[in-house]
């Protein structure tokens, strides 16, 4: 278990450094602490819920330590896979056309690539833990998938807010690192969102109608 925790912290720190370097080495160094902290906060807040969820779905007698070990290995696997991508990520971070006052240039591409990296690493870690669950109890595949997916959903719910509180992890390079606090907390972002869920809502909500929307699409005006 200790070795797993050490691997998790090290791997997540390496990946965190690589994403922070898109802004500056200072952000990368901050992420050496912040990224492992993000995972630790998420794991600690969800620990009891992971256990009860496994019991509710599986109905089997699980030990609390077994569930924590399995859930932590989910994080560890994802972190190790992401750490393996860190050199490529660091290279991209240092070579994309950086944002300036006029445009974000290739910064959105870097964000998109990292979303893909995290999705791939998370999915692979998920599949592996679904298989690992069979060693503890001979559940049908569907129950194992529901159990591990529930852990993942819970982690996303808490981890999203934890990441929001600990942001910035990436950061637009045109914003000075010296002026940016270690973490921003609940300060509003560019759209006025003060928490993760509001941030998601503001990203996906439909754009407001233009003032002259009722006149558009017609030949006569």
């Amino acid at each position: 278990m200790r070795r797993d925790v050490a691997t998790l912290l090290l791997a997540s720190a390496v990946y965190g450094f690589s994403i922070g370097c898109v802004h500056s080495t200072r952000f990368g160094l901050n992420n050496l602490i912040k990224f492992p902290l993000l995972i630790l906060i998420t794991g600690a807040a969800c620990a009891v819920a992971y256990y009860l969820w496994a019991l509710l779905i599986g109905g089997a007698r699980f030990r609390f330590a077994d569930v924590q070990r399995l859930a932590m290995r989910l994080y560890r696997d994802a972190a190790v896979l992401l750490a393996a991508l860190a050199p490529a990520n660091w290279f991209l971070a240092r070579t994309i056309t950086p944002p300036d006052a006029t445009s974000l240039h290739q910064y959105p591409l870097f964000l998109g690539v990292n979303v893909c990296f995290i999705a791939v690493a998370g999915a692979l870690a998920l599949f592996r833990q679904v298989r690992a669950l069979a060693q503890y109890h001979p559940w049908p595949l569907s129950r194992r998938v529901i159990t591990v997916s529930g852990w993942l959903a819970l982690s996303l719910m808490v981890g999203g807010q934890a990441a929001w509180t600990l942001r910035p992890f990436f950061g637009v390079r045109s914003i000075s690192g010296a002026e940016t606090p270690f973490f921003i907390g609940s300060m509003p972002d560019c759209r006025g969102s003060t928490n993760f869920y509001e941030g998601v809502y503001n990203v996906v909500r439909p754009a407001p109608f233009a003032p002259d929307y009722s006149r558009r699409g017609r030949d006569w005006n």
Binding site: L52, R61, A134, Y197
Partner: protein, 220 residues
């Protein structure tokens, strides 16, 4: 790999075939001294729990244990919502159950469910105990949200508390189905009327719970 799978399958068959013993009085009293062992009672060893209900074995002790568990496990979530109203979530769980239990039992009997008052109460209390357990598990998450979220027009800590409470209630409802229908002995006793009784009853239960939450000012 094939051997391992075969071993697991044979273990699984062995588990299903073995005789299930109900929880004894000593075990139930032990749970009052070590409350976290209640997790085994309602979630970990559902077949033994169902045997207790089906055989009406130690039901008064079981009722006492489940009622105390429901009240005690709901307190931390209530305390995170507001220290002065720490009792509200426990009151919500026990109050809504008390209001809706007569309808569950009477309609169940009317439609041919052959269980006693005590059995109905134990099954319903097991559902509330699971809800309470999940509120205990979600209390640290709610605490984290309250610490990290500030005032917002769209998503507030109170809104998240309501959402987490709904998740806990969903887990409790899942447990109700699992206990009532998942065990062969109990399912045979309850009979085919289970679904036509439980589904409409759940609608009533949800309505009453929402109203009671309003009265108790939970989430406002």
């Amino acid at each position: 790999m094939t051997n391992r799978t075969g071993e697991l399958e044979s273990n699984s068959r062995g588990e299903q075939d073995e005789e299930v013993h109900p929880f004894s009085r000593q075990e139930l009293h032990g749970m009052l001294r070590a409350p976290l062992r209640l997790v085994d009672l309602v979630l970990g060893e559902r077949r033994r729990f169902a045997t207790n209900v089906a055989q009406e074995h130690r039901l008064p002790t079981l009722l006492l244990v489940l009622a105390i568990a429901t009240a005690a496990f709901a307190l931390p979530f209530g305390a995170v919502l507001g220290l002065r109203g720490f009792w509200r979530v426990a009151a919500l769980l026990l109050g809504s159950l008390a209001i809706c239990l007569p309808s569950l039992h009477v309609f169940g009997r009317y439609l041919g469910i052959g269980v006693s008052w005590a059995q109905t109460l134990v099954v319903a209390l097991a559902s509330s105990a699971v809800t309470a357990l999940f509120t205990l598990a979600l209390a640290p998450i709610l605490g984290f949200f309250r610490v990290t979220m500030s005032a917002s027009d769209v998503v507030t800590p109170q809104g998240m508390a309501v959402m987490l409470l709904i998740c806990a209630f969903a887990a409790g409802i899942g447990q109700l189905f699992s206990v009532a229908l998942g065990n062969r002995v109990l399912a045979r006793r309850i009979g085919p009327a289970a679904i036509p009784v439980i589904i409409p009853w759940l609608v009533l239960y949800v309505i009453i719970t929402v109203r009671l939450a309003g009265v108790l000012q939970i989430g406002s």
